[in-house]
């Protein structure tokens, strides 16, 4: 890619403009620039331009006006690249966004002492498709809230109930919460679930059961994965295999079959009906010390090819495979990411539920990237994202937004291009990007 060449060109253009005192024009110049066709490259330019401008601001007068302009740049740009964008500021940052119903999500704080769990009602505007103009409501509403002593690293909603299960990331206990109904807005803790063989202090990954009574699959490493009935706390299944690899992701793909991804990238397929059956699919000598996974399932299809698994490594690689053969990658890619954080804590890859072949990646920096895997190949190559959301780096609050890191993101279950994302500064964005292909025709 000649991104850097064009970058250089842009610098020259920009400097020239600043010297002649018409920096504003460069924005519109860019639109006619042939390299504007490439969204990724284009967005990168904006980013660099922004840094350059920050320097200017300090040099000239130490005033905020130039900094304001650079936010305005993105603001104007956002008119073109998003259908809708909503930016919210939570009091405390969250690293979980979990759907609790079609219209509500749960967020929770992860600070070391006191935290809040909030259930938020999405604004009407995000749901009404017809007559949207008459719907002015664009704010989140806190419908339920509760207090947690510990931090919340993992939060899962149990389908068909008003329960959420959380873990603090430091021990293997699960906290069970009743989110509450219409009569009261307080979220209350109703119980604690423990791992039968608690073997680590690394925190637990959770996967809600998809069918049958309310139950939850949880574990901190592959060996201690167990299925627990929510109401009784009775263990229904435990793996009982001595594999001490730390667990990074856990998910059911059908009523009884689940996938477990170890931090080293190994993928396991288990079946809660057959405790002895466990299929191991090693990652196989790929780069990266930490791996996590995103699974796309179609519960109504028994075709194993309909279940795609994407594994993301800390070396910014994504390997896609499906249930037919988890060992051989269907396709893979080296992502175009410049890591800003050394922590692997926030790494996340998810499949778009209503958009074919698209996945979202976050956790390396202040951006959420969307990739279309349709063009990816079995051999490792670098690919450019389809879209980058960099709103979390463009907040006009007092935070140092250049160090912003996205903590999590989720897709809207039915709107194809709507994503919710959160960052360490407490911002939560809901955005719906413009599909270039349909916009141009």
């Amino acid at each position: 890619m000649d991104v850097f060449a064009s970058l250089f060109m842009f610098w020259l253009v920009n400097i020239a403009h600043s010297l002649t005192g018409c920096a504003l024009q460069s924005c519109s110049d860019l639109h006619s620039n042939p390299l504007g066709g490439n969204t990724a490259a284009y967005l990168l330019l904006i980013k660099y331009r922004r840094r350059y401008r920050s320097c200017l601001a300090v040099d000239e007068m130490g005033e905020t006006s130039s900094v304001e302009n650079e936010f305005d740049d993105w603001f104007i740009e956002s008119l073109k690249i998003y259908n809708n964008i909503h930016e919210y500021q939570l009091e405390h940052p969250t690293r979980v966004i979990e759907w609790t119903s079609e219209k509500t999500i749960c967020v929770a704080g992860y600070s070391s002492d006191k935290n809040e769990i909030l259930e938020l009602l999405l604004p009407l505007k995000l749901f009404s498709d017809d007559n949207q103009g008459l719907c002015a409501e664009r704010d989140f509403k806190v419908v339920h809230g509760g207090f947690s002593v510990g931090s919340i690293h993992c939060l899962k909603h149990i389908p068909g109930t008003r329960c959420v299960v959380t873990n603090d990331g430091f021990n293997s206990n699960l906290q069970v919460w009743d989110v509450g109904g219409d009569d009261c807005d307080v979220i209350k803790r109703t119980g604690v679930l423990q791992l039968k063989s608690a073997s680590s202090d690394k925190g637990v990954k959770i996967a809600p059961g998809l069918t049958g009574g309310p139950c939850v699959l949880h574990g901190s490493q592959i060996s201690d994965i167990q299925l627990t009935e929510l109401t009784s706390g009775k263990p229904l299944y435990s793996l009982g295999k001595d594999i001490p690899d730390l667990l990074s992701s856990l998910q059911f793909v059908s009523g009884s079959v689940f996938l477990a991804c170890a931090c080293n990238g190994d993928l396991y397929v288990g079946d809660t009906r057959k405790p002895s059956a466990l299929q191991n699919n090693p990652a196989g000598g790929r780069e990266g010390v930490h791996w996590c996974m995103g699974v796309k399932t179609d519960l109504f299809s028994s075709d194993p090819s309909s279940c795609s698994v994407a594994r993301l490594s800390s070396a910014c690689q994504v390997v896609v495979s499906d249930l037919r053969d988890l060992r051989a990658p269907l396709c893979q890619a080296q992502l175009h990411v410049q890591r800003k954080t050394t922590s692997d804590d926030f790494m996340k890859v998810t499949w778009a539920p209503a958009l074919d072949n698209c996945l979202a990646v976050s956790g390396f920096d202040g951006m959420v990237q969307i990739y279309d895997t349709a063009s990816w190949r079995p051999e490792l190559m670098e690919f450019q994202p389809l879209f980058i959301h960099q709103g979390h780096m463009m907040s006009d609050d007092q935070f140092d937004t250049s160090s912003a890191v996205v903590t999590t993101h989720v897709w809207h279950p039915s709107r194809p291009r709507t994503v919710l994302s959160a960052a360490v500064d407490g911002s939560v964005h809901v955005w719906d990007w413009v599909d270039k292909a349909t916009a141009s025709c």
Binding site: F75, L124, G133
Partner: protein, 665 residues
């Protein structure tokens, strides 16, 4: 703590009360002898009814506060959803006890929105109130314009009677006393009020009400984030006893201003790009200026060519107000005002009615905001038939107006002919339906956008952090939907949070500092008693008699109090019996006690009196025994109230028995 104290206090305030107080701080902190130091907040007329017209929440604010014996009405709003009596607050709560003027010490209006000031002429002119009405200068200027507008819609257009007249609005405004920010206004000798900047709209204020050491802050509507033309609300750490805040938006997490503006620009831009016309009906003041600044900036940035117009007269009027009240806008506008008036626009030009028929795209800001008459309605009629056009409603619309109808999605409007409008009400009645009405099809795109700037959950927390109130009171909310917020406030700030329902009275007990004068004699006597020197950081107990007389509190020696009040001193003695096993004769036991006490109580006057008693200070000890059990001695102890400490010490000491090695002489 305060509740406990209250239970202990005497129901009937007595003139003389025995009290312990702190020598270092001669204030009267933890014991009140009278029940009058309570601050009552009565909420009698606030409403939590909401309209659901196009997703707008509009209630009615009217709060009655009683503090230190003063009654203050905070806001006097009307409910926009009703056409009958219910739209005005029910003042009978007050008037059944007499006239409003006698009951109320003052009325304070926080800002010019009708749900906060709409019932003011009704209250002052129709119910009758002649006391002072306080509001800020901008509110005073803008409020009558809005009231008159509203009166016109209600009376002239809808033909309602039993409504206030133009003259009443004028008379009412004559009772208004203007407020400046941060200026303390003395309403009377005891009651003072002070206004703080609240953001929200031009002239919006929060008010601090103070009587003696008690205070209440009422926020009205406020906004904690600055916008394009106004600053953020600010208050100092005034630590009021109660902070009263709106909670309509208390459970919301607001979408950023930027995204709202983005949406607005996107809509305008798209319409202009496809060659359509955009109509934005606005009130003369308020959001209009903000939207103009926004469009002006955008046009400049994007090099847009389509013309933007502003209703004739509107610009001048608005500019006039903003120039007048430039101190009420945000810092940026104030700073640049000298070089460039932000309200004089390069791209925005005055509108002429002939422009409406011009071909090609354009954007027009026109008054009035609710499309009930005038220029905005005329333009609307011209443009409504074209689906390329758009109307953006940036504010609230009263029921019955065209604005309200189209916001509810009405696609066909029955409209009165212009001629009949000008001829007035009676004409319409004479006309056959259909001959003077014309039907209008609404094909243009209708957009509703709320730019109202209210503090959300985070904003309320910020304000509490700023003002540090001792109690929090949330009005206009649904209590069961705000349990979490209440818990959160109570946990984070360790203060009480109340959420009274409509018509409910909340009583908050305060802990006021009560200054007390201490007589020099008492202090000298306290000094003479010795002990450590007074330390201003540590409380110290001293005894005295509190006299509450002629509105003053004095702490004096008991002797002086008796003398002043002409009372005789009553003696109060305590007696008790202590059983003791001592195999000696009664006189021997007494001598043994004498020896024992002599060795234990050094520095006290202990006497062995010939009448068979031992005296320690005022404490009398006698020994007796029955003939049957000569070894079981019964000691009789008696002491006066003043020696209570020593007396109880002796009884405890003697209960332990006598040491064996004591000689009897």
């Amino acid at each position: 703590m305060a509740r406990e104290v209250r239970c202990k206090t005497v129901e009937e305030p007595s003139l003389v009360a025995l009290a312990k107080t702190h020598a270092a701080t001669p204030s009267f902190k933890n014991k009140t002898a009278s029940g009058s130091h309570l601050s009552n907040v009565h909420l009698c007329i606030s409403s939590s009814c909401f309209l659901s017209g196009a997703g707008q929440d509009v209630g009615r604010s009217c709060i009655l506060v009683s503090i230190g014996g003063k009654n203050i009405m905070l806001d006097c709003g009307m409910h926009m959803g009703f056409n009958d009596d219910r739209r005005f607050p029910d003042f009978s709560y007050i008037t059944q006890q007499g006239r409003l003027t006698e009951f109320l010490d003052c009325v304070i209006i926080s800002h010019f929105h009708l749900d906060h000031c709409g019932a003011l002429p009704y209250m002052s002119e129709m119910v009758g109130y002649d006391g002072p009405i306080y509001m800020t200068h901008p509110t005073k200027a803008i409020c009558p314009i809005l009231l008159e507008d509203f009166r016109k819609i209600t009376v002239d257009k809808k033909g309602e009677t039993n409504f206030f007249t133009s003259q009443m609005i004028k008379d009412c405004m004559k009772k208004v006393v203007p407020l400046n920010l941060h200026q303390t206004v003395q309403v009377d000798d005891e009651l003072e009020i002070k206004a703080y900047y609240a953001g929200h709209v031009l002239g919006a204020a929060m008010v601090q009400i103070k009587v003696g050491s008690e205070s209440v802050v009422y926020t009205g509507d406020y906004n904690m984030t600055p916008d394009r033309h106004l600053g953020a609300a600010w208050i100092d750490k005034c630590r009021p006893d109660i902070l009263i805040s709106e909670s309509t938006y208390a459970t919301t997490i607001r979408d950023s201003k930027r995204c709202r503006e983005r949406d607005f620009l996107k809509k305008v831009h798209e319409t202009v790009e496809r060659g359509g016309k955009v109509l934005i009906p606005v009130f003369a003041l308020g959001r209009a200026q903000e939207l103009c600044i926004l469009l002006e900036t955008f046009w400049e940035r994007m090099n847009m060519k389509a013309p933007i117009y502003f209703s004739t007269g509107l610009t001048e009027k608005a500019n006039h107000y903003y120039k007048l009240f430039i101190t009420w806008t945000n810092q940026k506008i104030r700073k640049t005002f000298v070089q460039r008036n932000m309200f004089e626009f390069k791209h925005i030009k005055a509108f002429d009615r002939s422009y409406a028929d011009n071909p090609g795209p354009m954007v027009v800001f026109a008054t009035p905001g609710m499309l009930h008459a005038g220029q905005s309605l005329q333009i609307f009629k011209k443009w409504a038939g074209n689906e390329k056009n758009m109307i953006i409603m940036p504010g609230y619309c009263v029921q019955g107006t065209i604005g309200h109808k189209i916001l509810n999605g009405q696609k066909k409007l029955e409209m009165e002919n212009r001629q009949t409008i000008s001829n007035g009400q009676s004409e319409i009645e004479r006309c056959e339906p259909g001959c003077c009405r014309l039907s209008l099809e609404v094909k243009l795109q209708v957009e509703y956008m709320s730019f109202s700037a209210h503090a959300d959950a985070k904003g309320i927390m910020q304000l509490i952090r700023m003002a540090e109130p001792r109690n929090m009171l949330l009005v206009h909310g649904e209590a069961k939907k705000m349990e979490f917020l209440k818990d959160k406030i109570e946990q984070e700030f360790t203060i009480n949070c109340f959420m009274p329902a409509n018509g409910e009275t909340t009583t908050v007990i305060t802990n006021p500092s009560v200054p007390v004068d201490i007589s020099l004699n008492l202090l000298k006597r306290e000094m003479a008693l010795g002990g450590p020197l007074p330390d201003p950081k540590k409380p110290r107990t001293m005894h005295g008699t509190l006299i509450m007389k002629d509105n003053s509190l004095r702490l004096v020696t008991p002797e002086q109090a008796l003398k002043e009040l002409g009372l005789n001193e009553h003696q109060l003695r305590f007696t008790c019996r202590v059983q003791l096993q001592d195999p000696h004769s009664d006189p021997d036991t007494l001598s043994r006690i004498y020896t024992h006490l002599k060795s234990v109580l050094k520095g006290y006057t202990i006497q062995h009196l010939p009448d068979g008693t031992v005296m320690v200070e005022s404490i009398v000890i006698k020994v007796s025994s029955s003939a049957e059990e000569p070894n079981t001695k019964v000691l009789l102890l008696s002491w006066s109230y003043q020696d209570e400490d020593l007396g109880s010490f002796l009884s405890t000491l003697l209960k332990k028995g006598l040491p064996s090695g004591l000689s009897s002489m």
